[in-house]
């Protein structure tokens, strides 16, 4: 049996499922097969108001990855906010830069907090390597501007998601290892905003996540500085177990 036959069988099982449990099983199987042909059916499953099936479909779409991006962007459901949130989650999980404008728009202006949350998360996990290196900085600046704005969203969960993305972004930037005091402009804007949020955010959960982000950023910076120092200060000297006595 080739992929196409298998896809047809699994797709039919989804279409013919007559209970929410059967639907869940069928979507899980289809998602696990990871076949490109299943993309439209998996996208449709985002709108069935069956959270289990939607989770499975999102996982399936993320696993399929880049081939799912075009259809997701095209078929993204403008009417059902539940389905749109799952679609944005799938795009966020894939991290393909073709979704950048959709994610920026959704994170800033969508009326559904689940959509804003998923989009805010996705902005932190984009596949930067897809960009030509000379473009990375300007796109990152655009994303940071958006995230700083979203970090003032009225809903705690959207601000929480923004914090996770601010964290990953600052970690993705080339750290100023030569001079640990001067961070790149974007990174210092982020760390400044995190400090501000720690002092002023109304929500304890968000403030706690900010603390966690700061801790992880610091750890990484220490590691990088340490890695550099050890390289500089300890030129390779062959030991023959001298220190082990």
């Amino acid at each position: 049996m080739n992929n196409n036959d298998l896809a047809q069988i699994l797709i039919r099982a989804v279409e013919e499922a007559d209970s929410s449990e059967r639907l869940l099983d069928a979507v899980q199987e289809l998602a696990a097969a990871g076949i490109e042909e299943s993309v439209p059916t998996l996208i449709a499953a985002l709108g069935y108001n069956n959270p289990g099936a939607a989770v499975a479909a999102v996982d399936g779409l993320i696993a399929i990855g880049e081939p799912a991006v075009g259809p997701l962007l095209k078929l993204i459901d403008d009417y059902n906010y539940g389905a749109r949130a799952w679609a944005v989650r799938a795009l966020a999980g894939i991290g393909d830069l073709r979704a950048l404008d959709t994610l920026l728009e959704a994170a800033k202006t969508d009326f559904s907090l689940s959509v804003r949350r998923a989009a805010a998360r996705g902005l932190g996990t984009l596949r930067w390597y897809q960009l030509p290196s000379e473009k990375v900085e300007s796109v990152q600046t655009q994303v940071i501007d958006a995230l700083l704005l979203i970090s003032e969203d009225p809903e705690w969960v959207v601000r929480y998601a923004a914090v996770t993305s601010l964290e990953t972004l600052v970690k993705a930037m080339p750290a100023a290892v030569n001079n640990a005091i001067t961070l790149p402009d974007g990174a210092s804007r982020i760390t400044h905003r995190l400090e501000q949020m720690l002092d002023t955010d109304a929500d304890l959960g968000v403030r706690t996540r900010v603390k966690f982000a700061q801790q992880k950023i610091q750890q990484q910076q220490h590691q990088e500085v340490f890695a550099l120092k050890t390289k500089q200060e300890q030129p390779e000297v062959p030991h023959r177990g001298g220190g082990r006595r």
Binding site: F111, R117, T208, F212
Partner: protein, 281 residues
């Protein structure tokens, strides 16, 4: 701080929609006593939604608890229901005594909302009135034999007694673990955990996350968040329900961790919960 059914309602319903007609505080307060019953009803909701804690708003809402004008065909009091809910959200202690009186209202939904709002206000003065209502379902220390008894909002009453740490009511709460309605059982389990800190009661909620009704899994997510039961973290993140509700539930666990650790550094439990939350965004 912990998620309550009201907060979930905020998050999953009201906040998902644009905020309808825009009002000013003065207009809303005036509308409470206007001739248009629809505008009164909306004004009461609006004052609660935006937690308008001005004295005139609180006075107006307390007055609305005795409204007779707005009735459903079944005899319910829509304006009273909204006023009760709003007073819980606004959190002014003056509402406690008038809300206790609402526990005797003929409208079930007014009584239910009153129990929820009294829980939010957190004043232990209401405990005996809540206990009295709970006893309606009991003969001595057993559930009434004629079941299922749906005459009182037992789940809301049980949750309030648990939150208010009414340990003297443990013997009356416990029988409700056997109530034929599952949400009532879960409310009893939640309250028993809060009153005794006995993990077996919280574990019963964790098991319920594997049940097959979505509506019940949602209710249990709110319960586990409210009690902040850390060992439930993975089960919460894996249950089949909307991520929004799982996130609220996990936030309850996270805040419980932070509030119950004195150290300024993040606890292992808090970090674990945050990693799970990140994966659900």
């Amino acid at each position: 701080m912990n998620p309550s059914p009201q907060k979930i309602e905020d998050l999953s319903l009201t906040s998902e929609f644009a905020d309808g007609e825009s009002l000013t505080v003065e207009q809303a307060i005036a509308n409470l006593q206007g001739v248009d019953l629809g505008l009164r009803f909306y004004a009461a909701w609006w004052l609660g939604r935006f937690r308008v804690c001005e004295p005139a708003a609180v006075r107006g809402l307390i007055r609305a608890l005795e409204d007779e004008a707005d009735r459903t065909p079944e005899g319910g009091y829509p304006l009273r229901r909204n006023a009760v809910r709003a007073l819980g959200k606004i959190g002014d202690g003056q509402a406690v005594v008038p809300l206790i009186a609402c526990l005797d209202c003929s409208d079930y939904y007014v009584r239910e909302a009153a129990a929820q709002s009294l829980e939010m206000l957190g004043d232990v003065v209401c405990i005996s009135a809540l206990g009295k209502l709970l006893k309606a379902g009991l003969e001595g220390e057993h559930l009434k034999s004629k079941q299922p008894d749906l005459s009182q909002p037992y789940d809301a009453i049980l949750e309030a007694l648990g939150r208010l740490k009414a340990t003297e009511y443990i013997p009356l709460v416990k029988p409700f673990l056997e109530h034929p309605i599952e949400v009532v059982q879960y409310a009893a389990a939640r309250a028993m955990y809060q009153l005794t800190q006995e993990p077996s009661y919280a574990q019963r909620l964790v098991q319920a996350l594997a049940g097959d009704k979505l509506q019940l899994r949602r209710a249990v997510l709110a319960d586990l968040g409210a009690i902040g039961y850390l060992p439930a973290a993975e089960a919460i993140s894996e249950t089949l329900a909307e991520n929004s509700l799982k996130l609220i539930s996990l936030k309850g666990l996270l805040e419980h961790q932070v509030n119950h650790t004195t150290a300024s550094s993040l606890s292992e439990g808090a970090i674990k919960v945050m990693n799970l939350m990140d994966s659900l965004l």
